[in-house]
């Protein structure tokens, strides 16, 4: 028995450095773990802060630019146009609103006419008046003959004035396009089956000054 105890004691003595080293290692690990836990807790306390965000919308709209042309799809019936003592009458309108949509800017506009020169027609344009009134004013000056890049000749009639549509009110201008095909051309067949092209240009822009 005594011998066994001696062996055990000897064994124990021989293994003391091993156990001490183990113990130290465990203590170091424990201390490091505790320090890490503390550090994390302190960081969490330091990191927490109030924060708020918001998205801001500019409550303003883009201005609408409304210039509505009505009745512009009139067609000149080529089978029916012929030299006549009476002119051919076409009406169209221009407005700064369309239904419940209104222009948000002041607009000024001008009307120009471009035609081919195949027929000896004469054009007049009247604004907000009857063409056959004595005081009626034709808006076109004398036609200017021009040639395009393809070599085709055409008449260019430029409106004499620019007209203003203020955004503060809904307005409509009624135009009367009068086309004359002089009767004296009845005697000739030179213009039979000829085509004529008429283009009405409404040139508009926002008023800035």
């Amino acid at each position: 028995m005594a011998k066994k105890l001696k062996i055990l004691n000897k064994f124990k003595k021989e293994n003391i450095p091993y156990f001490e080293e183990k113990k130290r290692f465990l203590i170091v690990i424990l201390v490091m773990f505790l320090l890490i836990v503390i550090a994390i807790r302190l960081l969490q306390i330091a990191y927490a802060a109030y924060e708020s965000q918001a998205k801001l919308n500019a409550n303003i709209n883009q201005a609408l630019y409304i210039l509505e042309a009505g009745g512009m799809d009139f067609n000149i019936d080529l089978d029916k146009i012929e030299p006549s003592p009476d002119p051919y009458i076409y009406k169209f309108s221009i407005s700064n609103f369309e239904g419940n949509r209104h222009s948000d800017v002041d607009i000024e506009y001008q009307i120009n006419l471009t035609t081919t020169t195949n027929l000896p027609l004469r054009y007049e344009l009247y604004r907000n008046e009857n063409y056959d009134e004595a005081t009626a004013t034709d808006l076109f000056e004398n036609a200017t003959i021009k040639q395009d890049i393809d070599g085709a000749w055409y008449n260019y009639l430029e409106g004499t004035e620019k007209y203003l549509f203020p955004y503060t009110e809904d307005m409509t201008d009624i135009y009367t396009l009068v086309i004359y095909f002089p009767e004296e051309n009845k005697a000739t067949t030179d213009y039979a089956d000829n085509l004529e092209n008429i283009e009405v240009e409404i040139k508009s822009n926002q008023v800035t000054e």
């Binding site: 001490e20 130290r24 203590i27 424990l30 201390v31 505790l34 320090l35 836990v37 503390i38 807790r41 302190l42 306390i45 330091a46 802060a49 109030y50 924060e51 708020s52 965000q53 918001a54 998205k55 801001l56 919308n57 500019a58 409550n59 303003i60 709209n61 883009q62 201005a63 609408l64 630019y65 409304i66 210039l67 509505e68 369309e98 948000d104 800017v105 002041d106 955004y167 822009n205 926002q206 008023v207 800035t208």
Partner: protein, 192 residues
């Protein structure tokens, strides 16, 4: 033996110190929590910031409509903008009862950042300490002195619709009154 005792003593001291530090930290947190439980209103710092009179208190992003816009009205209906016109967008940052200093910033996305935006910002001004600019981000600070004085920062963003001197053709059938004008984001963070 003496050496062994010394080692044990060192180990014991280290453990005691660690426990002391840990307990101190946790006890500090605990006592704050205790105070919160007993006198919440007086101890938790207030965080109530108003942007254009709208309270911004949540951590999630809120949406605020800016009505304080002063735009050119010559030949243009009020409340609308057209090419070549300019104006100013005003934003107010009011700390109200906030009790902590905070940094705030405005991130502005205009035509120079996103081509789809119509407006271009020309300058940004404010009434308190000048904002610092980093790209399209403008930063300011509300200090404790500002809070005590009840200061409100009024920020004015000057912008215009740059048409480059060119006419912009409009298709009447494609027009929309609501347009992608500008994008502004606000953020406030407590100072540490």
């Amino acid at each position: 033996m003496a050496k062994k005792k010394r080692k044990n003593l060192i180990i014991l001291i280290v453990i005691v110190l660690v426990c002391f530090v840990y307990l101190r930290a946790t006890s500090t947190y605990t006592s704050y929590e205790s105070e919160v439980q007993t006198t919440t209103d007086s101890e938790v710092a207030d965080w109530k910031i108003r942007v254009n009179d709208t309270l911004v208190t949540e951590s999630t992003t809120q949406t605020i409509n800016i009505d304080t816009i002063d735009w050119e009205t010559d030949h243009v209906r009020e409340g609308t903008i057209s090419p070549g016109t300019s104006g100013v967008i005003t934003i107010t940052v009011d700390p109200t009862t906030t009790q902590v200093a905070f940094d705030y910033e405005l991130t502005i996305i205009d035509h120079t950042i996103d081509e789809n935006k119509l407006l271009t910002v020309t300058s940004v001004e404010n009434t308190l300490s000048p904002l610092t600019q980093e790209g399209n981000v403008y930063r300011g600070t509300m200090t404790l002195d500002n809070l005590k004085a009840g200061d409100i920062d009024t920020i004015q963003i000057y912008a215009f619709w740059d048409d480059n001197g060119q006419d912009i053709e409009v298709d009447p059938d494609q027009q929309q009154s609501q347009s992608n004008l500008i994008e502004i984001e606000f953020r406030a963070v407590q100072r540490k």
